[in-house]
């Protein structure tokens, strides 16, 4: 059976109360869900024997700048059994800028989530080691947010002190 039909069917069977939004664009299937359920859905997708999305390819976020739910956290996963790629999306609002971490499902999500935290300032609950990935720990801004200027902010990265 085609995974494009199987994934929505399985998800709706397993989580009848949740509302999913399925979009098929240019051959990529993406599923939108509420952020509260991200961990259980990811665990189901990984452990369900007919799906087996064992490889978490990527975790990232999009900043929509002026929208009500300002951020969308995006997960990419790959099923080695079926050679199928799936995308999950969950909206995160700026006022409550956090989402549950999926490191308990895939260990590799660790650095991806650190990078997302570093670049967008989205906090991942229950993350084992949420530090900045690329920027120095003292850096106060989140560079990939749309309100951060391309030129950077003068003085935000202090030069090394002279002795």
């Amino acid at each position: 059976m085609n995974l494009k039909e199987l994934v929505p069917q399985k998800l709706q069977e397993k989580f009848p109360k949740l509302s999913f939004e399925f979009v098929d664009y240019r051959g990529d299937l993406s599923v939108k869900l509420e952020k509260e359920h991200i961990v259980e859905v990811c665990r189901f997708l990984k452990e369900e024997p007919e799906l087996e999305f064992r490889l978490c390819v990527d975790v990232t976020a999009i900043d929509w700048a002026k929208r009500k739910n300002r951020f969308t956290v995006v997960y990419h996963m790959f099923s080695l059994k079926h050679n199928f790629r799936l995308r999950l999306k969950a909206d995160v609002d700026e006022s409550e800028c956090c989402i549950d971490s999926v490191t308990s499902v895939w260990k590799t999500a660790d650095w991806h989530e650190r990078e997302t935290y570093d670049m967008f300032g989205i906090t991942f609950n229950n993350h084992p080691d949420l530090r900045r990935m690329y920027m120095p720990e003292e850096f106060e801004y989140y560079p990939l947010r749309k309100d951060f200027p391309l030129m950077g902010i003068p003085g935000s990265l202090p030069l090394p002190k002279k002795d």
């Binding site: 490889l55 978490c56 990527d58 999009i62 790959f78 690329y134 920027m135 720990e137 560079p143």
Partner: protein, 417 residues
């Protein structure tokens, strides 16, 4: 080496490194446990990778890789330039196989815009992507051998790589930062000289690679340094998100050229090389065998390469040839529009990945119908592969750390973006 003081290491890093089960500190190390700072300017870390090691004697108890010393913010830059303008920047990601990055980027943009390059351009792209893989693996093999003390191999593999750079010189005029591909095709048709040189290269390549391999495959020091060092099982490797030769060295046949084929890889006959040991030596063998398989693909590509256009004739999305711009009004207008406003793909988001030389190199692009991407995420294999480093070096000696980093083959330009 001057002693590391607490002021130089952020408390959060120390906390992550030491965990809760230890009471040692940086300033006042206990008798046999200490914290060693390796990098970011260490020749064996292949760039600016910094690893903090917590050692018991010479054994690694825990480690924290620190990235970001080469972070240039390419994702932010991509959001502020058009799809065409970003092509030269992809050269600077994995700077050992710039051609493969060019191919990955244009394939992602083409998927977003809903266009497809003509067959000849696709074959040329396959050829350059495979040659880039060979070049990158040659450097990986050479520098791994150099890391464990065999210097001659490095010179010999770089000599081979030099020949590939010569092909690129003929092909696009640049040896290192190529920017050869274009949205909807490639910059110019492959010259007969370039194709002849590629043919000549792969005809002599197998023999020369054998020669390089003979130097180290029976070298006891080389084998013993790598065998059993940095072992990771297939399941763990998937769990840690490893891709590319590092994953295939653990016995998982995951290769995007087979698992989700792009370009014309479906028509090509090649094997996905896997080794089941999962140690550094297996990762080295995978690279060597994969270089041979790539040469096989290049040979088939050269045999089957069709004639025809190398750039799509669709002026709304693809920059037309200069000759047409100067002679036709319509093309002149579109050229003006593309240069000033970009190609404006329809609203939507796509993810496209190719099998780069280090693993899955993917681009996640979000378009809002403008000339600039709204969001561009680079899924870089080097960064994800490095994540498993603490797992690989745990319980090994400091000298093994060098060999294991070499066997994962991280490129910091790509890992730090």
């Amino acid at each position: 080496m001057p002693k590391l003081t607490k002021d130089e290491v952020h408390p959060k890093i120390i906390e992550a490194l030491l965990g809760t089960d230890s009471d040692i500190s940086v300033d006042d190390a206990l008798e046999n446990e200490m914290v060693l700072n390796m990098g970011p300017q260490h020749p064996a870390t292949h760039g600016v990778l910094r690893v903090l090691l917590r050692l018991d004697g010479e054994t690694v108890v825990a480690s924290i890789p620190e990235l970001g010393y080469l972070h240039r913010g390419y994702e932010k830059m991509a959001e502020n330039m058009s799809y065409y303008e970003f092509i030269p920047h992809t050269d600077r990601l994995d700077y050992l196989s710039p051609m493969a990055n060019n191919v990955a980027w244009v394939l992602a943009v083409e998927k977003l815009a809903g266009i497809e390059a003509p067959p000849r351009a696709q074959y040329i792209r396959m050829m350059i992507a495979e040659l880039a893989r060979i070049a990158s693996h040659l450097v990986a093999i050479g520098s791994l051998a150099m890391d464990v003390g065999a210097l001659t191999v490095f010179l010999w593999t770089l000599r081979e790589r030099e020949k590939i750079l010569d092909i690129w010189d003929i092909l696009c005029g640049a040896r290192f930062t190529n920017s050869y591909t274009r949205i909807g095709g490639v910059a110019n048709d492959a010259q007969p000289e370039a194709l002849a040189k590629a043919k000549w290269f792969i005809d002599q390549f197998d023999e020369n690679l054998d020669e390089c391999e003979r130097l180290i495959n029976t070298n006891r020091i080389f084998i013993e340094r790598l065998e059993g060092a940095g072992v990771i099982s297939g399941n763990d490797a998937i769990e840690m998100g490893m891709t590319g030769p590092s994953l295939r060295g653990s016995g998982v046949a995951y290769d995007l050229r087979r698992n989700s084929p792009y370009l014309c890889y479906n028509d090509m006959d090649f094997n996905v090389v896997t080794y089941s040991e999962g140690d550094s030596l297996a990762r080295y063998f995978v690279r060597a065998d994969e270089a041979r398989e790539s040469a096989k693909i290049v040979r088939q590509v050269l045999d089957k390469m069709p004639q025809g256009e190398v750039l799509l004739n669709q002026p709304k999305k693809v920059l037309p040839h200069k000759t047409e711009i100067y002679t036709k009004m319509e093309e002149l207008i579109y050229d003006f529009m593309i240069v000033n406003f970009g190609i404006n793909p329809p609203e939507g988001d796509i993810y496209h990945a190719i099998e780069g030389s280090k693993g899955e190199l993917g681009f996640y692009l979000v378009s809002k119908g403008e000339g600039h991407p709204w969001r561009c995420k680079i899924r870089s294999p080097s960064m994800v592969n490095l994540q498993s480093l603490p797992h690989l070096i745990k319980g090994r000696m400091v000298s093994d750390v060098v060999a294991i980093i070499g066997s994962i083959d991280p490129i910091m330009g790509e890992a730090d973006k």
